[in-house]
Subunit: 141 residues, 4 copies
Amino acid sequence: MSQNNEFLYSAEIQLRVRYSETDQMGYCYYGNYAQYFEVGRVEALRELGMSYKIVEEKGYMLPVSSYNVKYISPAYYDDLLTITTKIIDLKGVRLYFSYDITNEKGQLVSTADTTLVFVDKKTMRPTTPPEDFVSLIFSKK
Amino acid sequence: MSQNNEFLYSAEIQLRVRYSETDQMGYCYYGNYAQYFEVGRVEALRELGMSYKIVEEKGYMLPVSSYNVKYISPAYYDDLLTITTKIIDLKGVRLYFSYDITNEKGQLVSTADTTLVFVDKKTMRPTTPPEDFVSLIFSKK
Amino acid sequence: MSQNNEFLYSAEIQLRVRYSETDQMGYCYYGNYAQYFEVGRVEALRELGMSYKIVEEKGYMLPVSSYNVKYISPAYYDDLLTITTKIIDLKGVRLYFSYDITNEKGQLVSTADTTLVFVDKKTMRPTTPPEDFVSLIFSKK
Amino acid sequence: MSQNNEFLYSAEIQLRVRYSETDQMGYCYYGNYAQYFEVGRVEALRELGMSYKIVEEKGYMLPVSSYNVKYISPAYYDDLLTITTKIIDLKGVRLYFSYDITNEKGQLVSTADTTLVFVDKKTMRPTTPPEDFVSLIFSKK
């Protein structure tokens, strides 16, 4: 998925590795990247025109159903990382993202992909996304 | 508060410092102790006879309104820590806890106290706790 | 990898979902599973006969180079989860694990696999593991 | 400490509450504020002229020895928070900070203070800070 060159939308953010996110190896702990990718997709959706907060207020939630990540170079404390988030596709109830992270030296730190599922907050069952979300997601292709 | 020798109930648990909880200093990150104290009070309430999960199912939540902690000796990766949790008092809407953490060598790692407030999940306003909780909390004195 | 039925060693642990690990969806946050798998492999190595702490004291570290996880049923606050960790293989500098998580009802919550790389703490370069580790890992097959 | 109107330096940053930082109450988990204050003091030191990363590279570390926090109004997912960090004093081996957090509506979310201790990374014993740090910290008064 992350090698896919076709995507619906792409957005870039920057964030710094916090001290709390390091471990005694002196690396950013491997479990903390999930938060970075979450921030990446949240900001991609905001930039696209519908924040994730609004998606929840409309009665949906978007749990992650699958997540694959490769750790290529370590990220260190205080590194200013660039997270590039690509919205790959929306098919039925599933929304596909891919990501890469680079550091200030331009080194590739990580690549990843996630699959998210639209869930109705009342029924807690998978559901198709709202019309305006669908329109928006395909509007920038 | 944590010097107070009077308390309503006391309980002990053990947990190990996870790798994710260390930082590049090689210490357990200072922010992670809050989780340990949370586990301490959750298990104290379960042992006393009403799990925090049940408290929430009854329509209450217990956010923390104040938290004070002293870091005395560092906690390290894989240390097996003993958390002693004391329920100090229940006054009106407020529930007071104090804690200490010791390591396997018997060294004092940390002392802390927290104040929690009973909140009604519907109104999101402070409220007195349910009768059965009040009875329980004073039953072991 | 996680479908692989052959493995070198298998170990089971139980842990409870902490309040800190939930998110406002009411689920255990997807990023926190990485910690659970870390606890799973740490305890598997300890049970096998060489704790990860000892591995580090011998001059090695074991960063994760790849991690794939499927979220099948949500894990909720206070759920008592069973993590089954399988050591799949050791090839050159790489150590392969797979995992599954089930809840108290016996439902499958998650499956995952990770690849870890032996790194020399002095040179910070990949290196073959120490002899005694290699012997141990193949001893229980 | 946090009511003290005298301070050596003050700096402001903004950050957003991440989804990972919420809990099932729908609040930012009380333990995550420690990370926000860490980011606040790190950026205050950077703005003042010596990043914490540089402090560590000079052979020092700055563990927290005491931390007190009041939770006044909840912080919610996606809230853009303003963290004001004040360097209160440097006395011997101890560096004192106070903090407050406000939300976009101007509501006070939290106040806190921390005491940090200069530690020599080689001896792991408390030590006076380097001369250039001392000069810098008193330079803006």
